[in-house]
Point group: C2
Chain length 122, copies 2
Amino acid sequence: MVLDRSGRLDRVFHALAHPARRAMLRRLCDRERNLSALAAPLKMSFPAASKHVKVLERAGLVRRRVVGREHICRIEGRPLAEANQWLEAYRRNWERNFLRLDALLDQMKAEERDRRSGQPKP
Amino acid sequence: MVLDRSGRLDRVFHALAHPARRAMLRRLCDRERNLSALAAPLKMSFPAASKHVKVLERAGLVRRRVVGREHICRIEGRPLAEANQWLEAYRRNWERNFLRLDALLDQMKAEERDRRSGQPKP
DNA sequence: AAAATAATAAACCAGATGGTTGATAATGGG
DNA sequence: CCCATTATCAACCATCTGGTTTATTATTTT
């Protein structure tokens, strides 16, 4: 099986794929906020914003605690760090390999150049 | 407006949110591959795999060139690096702020402990 | 010329996503 | 006690997603 089983990563990337949810995360970076505060700047209904928060929760990116009638949300670091590591790993991997490929191509071009100048053919 | 307009980021994260597409990216890290090679290890029909490649292309994560009847795909670094940077920035931001919050909480707890041992109350 | 290979296109489908409205429940402040 | 605030739930809707199957096109291979 080549598919990785981590539904966690699925949910994290899916959660990050919507601008409203990224906006929420961004505004959770500096402090905790309740749902109203998170929903206010978004031009959508409150229930819609509430659903977005649920998506962030299911991804583990946000934790909520209920204080009286307010639901206070806090950003959760671990999954974001995991996604970050995944990206980092693949970026490094691909960079390393394609740098090697580029070096190989340069080498091949140089060889062909040499070969042509030695005995040119149609 | 709090929403960021970058549909690019939307598409990148959405592309990363499916295990089949991540598997494809992973196998593109070491070398270019044509669609058949990409589709082979996935337990789905060829057209389905082809659609996944299109999603990766629309996100700019993969570039394709046609050679004869083969469509050869190559991983594209820039968008992956952009997504990486986005994550990095927010991770650092939130870490910085919540480290400060934790320090504040420790301070508050210490203060309360001192206050209680000074004059305990019900 | 015929057959096999690599890929797209089109039609279709079930289920998820992203949004709305309207009703309901719990809490806090006068 | 009343009322505004905070939030959920349920129903509904349009569109997107992820998959299928069948048919078609273009290129190699034999």
